[in-house]
């Protein structure tokens, strides 16, 4: 009987110990003199390939600091890190997008980098890459841009269009339904037409923006209605954009050379190269109606440090951060994936300056507008999405959708603030 009791109690304690240990939520630790640094990232497959090479090189050269990585989807990484971070867990380092700055900093799950790295360290990075929130820098801008560009298949298009009108005309020419079954074998233009991130360039091209300086939504505007009407016309009037064209479909069609133009970011270029699509990058062309350039949202991607990492461990984590942001590493990413480096010395490197795609991407960058990093942006995205989809599905007029977006965004922001 005593044995059974001992076994039960021992088993119970062991189980609870396992549970307590797993409540750490993914952070690293110390083991036999080796510091285990955990990195969570949301990189694309091509980026992960390079990251794995880098981590393998680091781990081979640093026996006492071993780095491992875990990949998450764009949405999951925010929710997971926020949840784990609130409980004092989560990864030591996180590679994410700048729009997480607001939620992470308000929740207190990341370190203000200006305080722990200092101004001199940060001055090595291009000023354009920083998103300050509450007076602090929270993310090290490893990559600058993260923006959309116009891509064209050079087998089909000799010279890029100079205006939106020309883009539409060229896309009409390239839309081909050979067997006349109503489903073109090739479309002129494909892009994710369900996500408002892809609507923003046109919104800017018609003179609009998503929020004012005090972070109030500015969605119910003539510019928004015109942008919505323009994108809807690509499908309903010109037939150059497939129905239900989501990211997956547009990506696949461009890879399979079934589309002449696409709108996508640098993260897709590696995949297109792997699929042997001959393509070039250019800016989304001028809107002659307004005389304005369509401007994609621009932001940075980079590294956050978990606020629970302190003392000796923080020094080691910064060592890893240094390595991942070294000139050599940034040039490797830029050369292979077309990423605009955040480090000044990498940005000015001759191999980067001579890269034609990077030059075109940089031109588009300069026409873009900086994505606000406040948490309200989440409510604005979610308010824009239904209206955008309703217009494309023919269920709302652009004016109705713009009005509904505004009302919804105001409501969602009020709800978020409780």
């Amino acid at each position: 009987m005593l044995k059974i009791a001992n076994f039960s109690i021992g088993y119970c304690l062991a189980l609870l110990l396992v549970i307590f240990m797993s409540c750490g939520g993914g952070g690293g630790g110390e083991e036999g003199g080796v510091t285990k640094v955990v990195l969570w990232e949301m990189m694309d497959p091509e980026e992960r390939e390079i990251l794995d090479e880098l981590l393998a090189e680091w781990n081979a050269a640093h026996a006492t600091i071993q780095v491992s990585r875990t990949n998450f989807g764009r949405e999951q990484i925010r929710a997971q890190f926020l949840t784990a971070g609130l409980g004092g867990g989560g990864a030591d380092l996180l590679f994410g997008a700048a729009d997480d700055v607001g939620p992470f900093s308000i929740a207190g799950v990341i370190h203000p980098l200006d305080e722990i790295l200092g101004a001199e360290y940060l001055s090595r990075f291009s000023e354009i890459g920083f998103d300050r929130f509450d007076g602090h820098v929270w993310m090290l801008p490893t990559q600058v841009g993260n923006h959309l560009c116009l891509l064209y298949n050079t087998d089909l298009i000799a010279e890029p269009p100079e205006s939106l009108e020309e883009l539409v005309a060229m896309a009409v020419e390239q839309t081909i339904d050979e067997n006349g079954d109503g489903t073109p074998e090739r479309y002129g233009l494909v892009f994710e037409s369900r996500e408002p991130f892809w609507l923003v360039p046109f919104l800017v091209g018609f003179g609009g923006w998503v929020m004012d300086d005090e972070f109030n939504p500015t969605l119910d505007t003539p510019a928004m209605a015109k942008a919505l009407a323009f994108v809807a016309s690509l499908r309903s009037e010109y037939g150059i954009l497939p129905r239900e064209c989501d990211y997956q479909l547009s990506d696949t069609m461009f890879k399979e050379k079934k589309a002449a133009f696409t709108i996508n970011g640098h993260w897709s270029w590696g995949g297109y190269d792997d699929s042997d699509v001959p393509f070039q990058v250019t800016s989304i062309p001028l809107n002659q109606e307004t005389g304005l350039w369509p401007g994609p949202m621009i932001s940075s991607r980079g590294y956050y440090i978990n606020s629970s990492v302190e003392g000796e461990r923080l020094i080691k984590v910064i060592e890893v951060l240094d390595y991942l942001n070294s000139e050599e590493v940034q040039i490797r990413f830029a050369d292979r994936l077309g990423v605009i480096p955040g480090l000044k010395s990498a940005f000015d490197h001759p191999s980067i300056k001579s890269n034609e795609r990077l030059r075109a991407s940089w031109e588009q960058y300069q026409k873009g507008r900086r994505m606000p990093v406040v948490p309200e942006m989440r409510a604005i995205w979610d308010a824009m999405r239904p209206g955008f989809q309703n217009v494309l599905n023919g269920e709302s007029t652009p004016q109705e959708a713009a009005r509904a977006m505004q009302i919804d965004a105001v409501k969602k922001i009020a709800e978020m603030k409780g």
């Binding site: 939620p103 369900r194 129905r243 239900e244 989501d246 239904p386 209206g387 269920e395 709800e415």
Partner: protein, 292 residues
Amino acid sequence: MRSFWKRHSQPYLFLAPAVAVMLFIVLYPFLYNVYIAFSNMSLYHLRDLEFVGLKHFRTILSEPAIWAVFGKTILWTVVNVVSHLVLGVGLAVLLNQQIKGRAIFRALLILPWAMPQYITALTWRGMFNYEYGSINLGLKAIGLSPIPWLASEIGAFAAPVIANIWLGFPFMMIIALGGLQSIPKELYEAADLDGAGWWFRLRKITLPLLKPVLLPAAILGTIWTFNNLNVIWLITNQGEPADKTHILVTYVYKAAFHYYRYGYAAAFSLVIFVILLSFVLAFLRAGKERTR
């Protein structure tokens, strides 16, 4: 007391680890959820929580949109569970016969259950694409018009229902098959001697004797389906089009992890818990009364 403990300590000791774990991983989170349901916890109030009483519950019950979501949740659950039961029992009855290739059919029919939900959902999403999805290509091949599955409210709701029926029937089939194999053959032989037909045997022998195994399976199926986030979330891409395809759990998930409305989402989770608890109690009571 001491003699009671001496005589009965063994089962309690055996139960102790499970009880300890349950307390830690079920009861504690549940109580914490109750706590934050009555607080103002959100991204802006993570550490300075204040008691807000029934505020979130009042908001939930007064939002007209939630009743539409609730209606869709009921429809989603009923259509799925009924289809799972009908298909599952039907296929189990067929597979219980002596037919050629029974093992192969059985393995094939279990496949949907063996596939990870995530992969299945995304595959179905591709199949529902308007222009290039295999379902619309099939419809076009037989001369029918393609359906805007993911762009219309009804289509986008029907799409995950279809996918979830495909995903869920094997569970009921396996349960029913196990139940069928435990029914004594003598009952069917006696019915045969009395000249009972197929329909009569199904109604009077098979279904009544399957009931004890199907009842818990149906309750479990209802709870799982009611709380099934993956399928509807992934196929409709988070409630598209225009947030019209939410069920209660996807709605709550969005409130919690998109808008950081933790207090509100916790209160909503309690409402869902009460709905499911009421359903289970009513279902069990109805089952008991019918047995009497």
